[in-house]
């Protein structure tokens, strides 16, 4: 409805022309700003936005001025509500303009040259855009107002005069206030533009004479902060070097300890082997000793049996000797018989000699025989006595030899000798016990040695952790070295550029971290990693 009415606007009307002119000018300005931006950047630099802002403001002001001229020439009545709404909208637009301008110019007082630049740039852009929008909005409102006035003029002029005259008056007052406000804004904008110009000039001078050292000299806090940062990084690098040295010491110490441990383990293993060898030799020696002991025991047993038989043999001998003694007694009787025969022969010889003497000469030969017989009898007697003496001596000797005490002693000694056999048997049993004991001892020591060898083997396997720790320390040292190099570069660049860093140190640090973590993930990390289910197997045959 409203659009339809707007088509009926007489474009010859001044307000319409102003609207078209201002809109076209604003559009041209915006298009020019877009297309000529690179060239204007080169020629005007940071004043480009200010120039456009100025143009936009001038166009807006001109259009508003011409509009007011046109409206004054042809005042049209309007309803109170619409005027009020239009007033509100105008106030809103003005407030917007005022706020944007204040924002743009308020950035001057903010701390930090760079942030001020950015803020002011953004604010200027925003202000220019807002102003352009405000101008368009204002033009639309004005057009709506004109439409309304035009429509209302078709109604009864008299009624309209009655109703609308006070409203026209109010509208006129509102527009006057608006114009005053616009003038104020214009004045303030000019002042702010001048201030901004000065600020930009100062900024340009600062940028032209920009030197980090100067900034640091000008800013003691910044200087102290930077110095403190250098000092902290320097101490940090020193600490890192100290830690790196200590890590080296740890790696070397564990290496030495591991080597020593391996040597000791090897010695222990050798000692265990020697012990087993010694025990084995001992068992073999005991085995050879066994046969010797067996032989000795058999020999001793035979001797014991022999000794055991001796008393019986002696008894038999005694009995034999006693028999001899009886024979000797019998021989003594025989000697007595011989003595008697000899005596009788002697008597017979004496009688024969007497008879021979009686026979005279005839008996001379017989006398000789009788004498010889008598000599024979004497000799026989002498021989019998000699035999008797010999037999007495033999009997005495036998009697002395077969005394009872002597026999008892001999028998006791013989029994003692027989008891030796019991001792030998006990000795043999003890030897068997000892042999069993040695066998058990050998078995136990052998088992323990086997366990010891297995433990030593496992310990030698565990010593491999020293190599794992060493490699882990080496990877840490490499990562720390890269980080330190980056720190050094960071400090150097910070000193030379005065804070305007060109390299992205955070991402470089991230690369170092990721490299380190990736390398670590490729290695078997810890004792606990054995139990990780998703970890690749520790042993794999292809």
């Amino acid at each position: 409805m409203r659009e339809k009415k707007s088509k009926n606007i007489d474009f010859k009307n001044g307000a319409g022309r102003i609207f078209i002119f201002s809109s076209t000018a604003m559009l041209l300005l915006m298009v020019g700003a877009v297309f000529l931006s690179p060239y204007l950047d080169a020629s005007l630099g940071r004043f480009k936005e200010m120039v456009f802002l100025g143009f936009a403001l001038i166009i807006a002001l001109c259009s508003q001025w011409f509009l007011m001229q046109a409206l004054q020439k042809k005042p049209v009545l309007s309803s109170e509500e619409r005027i009020h709404a239009a007033n509100e909208k105008l106030r809103y637009v003005l407030n917007n303009i005022t706020r944007q301008v204040e924002m743009a110019l308020g950035a001057k007082s903010s701390a930090g040259v760079k942030s001020a630049n950015i803020a002011s740039d953004n604010s200027v852009d925003s202000l220019a855009t807002t102003l352009a929008k405000c101008a368009v909005t204002l033009a639309e409102h004005v057009r709506a107002l004109i439409d309304t006035l035009q429509n209302d003029s078709n109604e009864s002029l008299e009624e309209a005069k009655q109703i609308l005259l006070p409203q026209i008056e109010q509208t006129a007052q509102a527009i006057t206030r608006y114009l005053n406000a616009c003038e104020n804004i214009d004045v303030q904008l000019r002042e702010r533009i001048n201030e901004t110009k000065e600020l930009l000039l100062n900024l340009q001078n600062v940028l032209e004479n920009f030197s980090p050292q100067q900034i640091m000299q000008d800013s003691p806090v910044l200087q102290s902060c930077v110095n403190e940062t250098y000092a902290v990084i320097d101490r940090h690098l020193q600490l890192e070097n100290a830690i790196k040295d200590q890590l080296n010491v740890v790696a070397n110490d564990t290496n030495d300890s591991a080597i020593q441990l391996v040597t000791l383990m090897r010695d222990l293993s050798n000692e265990a082997e020697n012990l087993v060898r010694y025990i084995t030799d001992a068992v073999q020696k005991i085995s050879s000793l066994d046969s010797g002991v067996d032989d000795s025991v058999g020999f001793i047993i035979r001797i014991a049996h022999f000794i055991q038989d001796i008393p019986e043999k002696i008894q038999a001998d005694i009995q034999s000797i006693q028999g001899v003694s009886g024979v000797i007694d019998g021989l003594t009787n025989l000697v007595d018989s011989i003595k008697e025969i000899s005596f009788q022969t002697d008597i017979l010889a004496v009688n024969a000699a007497i008879q021979a003497a009686h026979a005279g000469e005839a008996g001379l030969g017989f006398k000789i025989v009788a004498d010889e017989v008598r000599k024979l009898a004497v000799n026989s007697n002498k021989a019998a006595e000699m035999i008797e003496d010999g037999l007495d001596a033999a009997r005495h000797t036998i009697k002395e030899g077969l005394k009872f005490k002597f026999l008892e002693e001999v028998m006791a000694e013989m029994n003692e000798a027989a008891a030796v056999m019991e001792s030998v048997k006990k000795l043999e049993e003890s030897h068997e016990d000892m042999r069993q004991y040695y066998k058990t001892l050998f078995s136990v020591i052998n088992n323990n040695n086997r366990k010891l060898a297995a433990d030593i083997s496992e310990i030698l396997g565990s010593i491999q952790y020293q190599d794992i720790v060493r490699q882990r320390i080496e990877r840490m040292q490499i990562a720390m070295q890269h980080r330190n190099d980056l720190f050094q570069l960071f400090v150097t660049e910070l000193e030379s550029s005065g804070g305007n860093l060109t390299d992205d140190f955070a991402s470089q640090m991230n690369v170092i971290l990721n490299n380190y973590l990736e390398k670590e993930s490729h290695h078997n990390n810890s004792l606990n990693s054995r139990d990780e289910e998703d970890a690749p197997p520790k042993f794999e045959l292809f």
Binding site: R266, S457, G461, Q464, D467, N524
Partner: protein
Amino acid sequence: MAKTILLVDDSVTMLMSVKNNLEIAGFKVETAEDGLKALAKCTGGLKPDLIITDINMPNMGGIEFIKKARALPGFRFLPILTLTTEANQAKRDEGKAAGATGWLVKPVGGADLLKIIKQVLPGA
């Protein structure tokens, strides 16, 4: 006749511990500190029955050593085991492609090592 094992590792600790373990088990052990020295021993007439090598070593790493050792006459079917801290699959595949027989991740206990050796050296 004791079997001969060539042990290659840049860590003296590793060489000593594994060598002792294998010697206690009755093997004859030759050692080398890197792939280059090990290769020199192989070309110099050493004919081991088994090679156990580390992967990350100076001068010549384990992968390159395995590749070059496989090219030597008489080493084509020789069992070559790796003993390393490298545990990731990509490195394993690389070792497999180079000609390794098996992949062991440190640490390997004495008993486990002997079991594995018996698998690749049935007569040992």
